[in-house]
């Protein structure tokens, strides 16, 4: 029997509300299939299931608010039947429930069978019951201002945690973009309008390529220390027109040619603003890239999104004076910055990463691979 639980879709998510089931009892579920739509403080998200099986029971009800980790559905594994499960599960091992949790559940009318335990060996704790009781309470009808305030609350919580736990350091570098923009202009002149590339895509690809040599900037920090990520999934900070910010992942950005990356970025921005992101895009970013150049900022020094360990920022591309070999000239420039976690890397490596980024952007044709 497989328990399908509400996944965490980021450091700023601790609960979600089931909006819709995309499957029913008896349906076969394939790996990666969207099985439910869950509303978080930031967006409605298509939640994927990463295990294969047949839906035995939909435990969560539409409209139910639940903490991360709550069992939403049960699935039968291949070859398993409902009867087998019943046999295998009887006699069921006695669940460990703390006396305080049991008493509180009685007082609040919480069904302990529907509460997943977060204590040792899955024991149900008082905190689990409190969360379940809070989720059971009827929610006030959502209004636009409430949603906005809720999003601000979760962003604040994640950023406060970041500033509290992560010893940030910052480095920045001015990068000439004359070669990159000339290459882009020539490339775009050959392309139909719908296939043109934005400078942002070149910057994203350069970041992903540079990260291959600096794996200590790409991964997660947990209780057991730093764990480098296997793939380079760039979390792209996308502002919402109604306010707020989401940073879904551009998956495996280091291995994709520019045309594909541009198509995927376009699709990601459209779906982010339309509210149809997938759970993997919300939870698998290994580093964040933010670009405030369109808003006119010369540079941005970001706050790392935990448990990630680095954030790359780009400011506005502008013509600035640049001295080279004794000559002074005006060149299009961008200020690239890196905010990184001192528990994992130091400023020396951070500076080398930015230099690598600079080198790559002087050879733009090599990035289209």
């Amino acid at each position: 029997m497989i328990e399908f639980k509400l996944p965490s879709l980021g450091a700023d998510m601790d609960e979600g509300t089931l909006l819709e089931w995309k499957v029913g009892a008896g349906d076969t579920v394939k790996k990666g299939q969207v099985v439910a739509v869950v509303d978080t403080a930031k967006a409605a998200v298509d939640v994927e299931c990463w295990q294969e099986g047949t839906v035995a029971e939909l435990v969560a009800e539409v409209g139910q608010k639940m903490p991360v980790g709550t069992v939403m559905a049960t699935l039968l594994e291949a070859g398993e039947k409902v009867g087998d499960v019943a046999t295998a599960m009887a006699p069921a091992p006695r669940r460990m429930i703390s006396p305080a949790a049991r008493k509180h559940a009685q007082e609040k009318g919480v069904d302990l069978d529907k509460v997943s335990g977060s204590g040792p060996h899955g024991a149900v704790t008082l905190e689990d019951v409190e969360k379940a009781a809070a989720a059971k309470a009827p929610a006030a009808p959502a209004t636009a201002p409430d949603k906005s305030a809720e999003m601000r609350r979760v962003i604040a919580a994640a950023m406060a945690r970041s500033k509290r736990e992560i010893p940030h350091y910052y480095v920045a570098e001015d990068i000439p973009l004359a070669k990159a923009l000339a290459w882009l202009q020539e490339e775009n002149a050959r392309r139909p309008m719908a296939e043109r590339l934005l400078p942002a895509v070149l910057l994203l690809k350069a970041v992903a390529t540079a990260l291959k040599r600096y794996p200590e900037l790409n991964g997660f920090f947990s209780d057991s220390g730093f764990v480098p990520a296997e793939r380079i999934n760039l979390g792209v900070a996308i502002s919402l027109r109604q306010g707020g910010l989401i940073a879904p992942a551009l998956l495996d950005a280091g291995s994709k040619p520019l045309t594909q990356l541009m198509q995927e970025l376009t699709d990601l921005v459209q779906r982010t603003r339309a509210g149809s992101l997938r759970s993997s895009e919300m939870s698998e970013a290994t580093i964040t890239v933010t670009n405030l150049g369109d808003q006119g900022s010369q540079a941005v020094f970001g706050v790392i999104y935990p448990p990630q360990v680095a954030l790359v920022g780009f400011g506005r591309v502008t013509e600035r004076p640049w001295a080279e070999n004794g000559d002074l000239k005006a060149l299009p420039m961008v200020t690239a910055s890196l905010a990184a976690d001192h528990r994992v890397s130091d400023g020396h490596r951070g500076a080398l990463f930015l230099r690598e980024l600079d080198d790559l952007l002087q050879r733009p044709e090599d990035l289209d691979r």
Binding site: Q185, N188, A189, M193, A194, R196, L198, P199, A200, S239, R241, Q242, L265, T266, V269, D294, Q295
Partner: protein, 84 residues
């Protein structure tokens, strides 16, 4: 098509990207992107929308000429061979 009809197409395209915009409050002689907070992706989609609706190809080299709403309308009219 006349200038007014082209302006209506431009505004409709803009509203499809930035639905919160109050078209009546837009100044035709002020930079469009800063009035509407269009990022590079929005701007590309805006131009693509105009391309689809009017069949006008807009080379990247011409982007610098499209600063205000009035600029965009005048540019499209010229491309479509309308007006003086």
């Amino acid at each position: 098509m006349n200038a007014e009809e082209i302006r209506a197409v431009v505004l409709a395209t803009l509203l499809s990207i930035a639905p919160e915009v109050e078209a009546d409050e837009l100044r035709g002689d002020r930079p469009l992107r800063s009035q509407v907070d269009l990022d590079s992706m929005d701007w590309l989609n805006f131009l693509l929308g105009l391309n689809k609706k009017l069949g006008v190809e807009i080379p990247e080299a011409d982007y610098a000429r499209l600063v205000t709403l009035d600029d965009v309308v005048a540019y499209l009219m010229k491309k479509l061979g309308i007006g003086p």
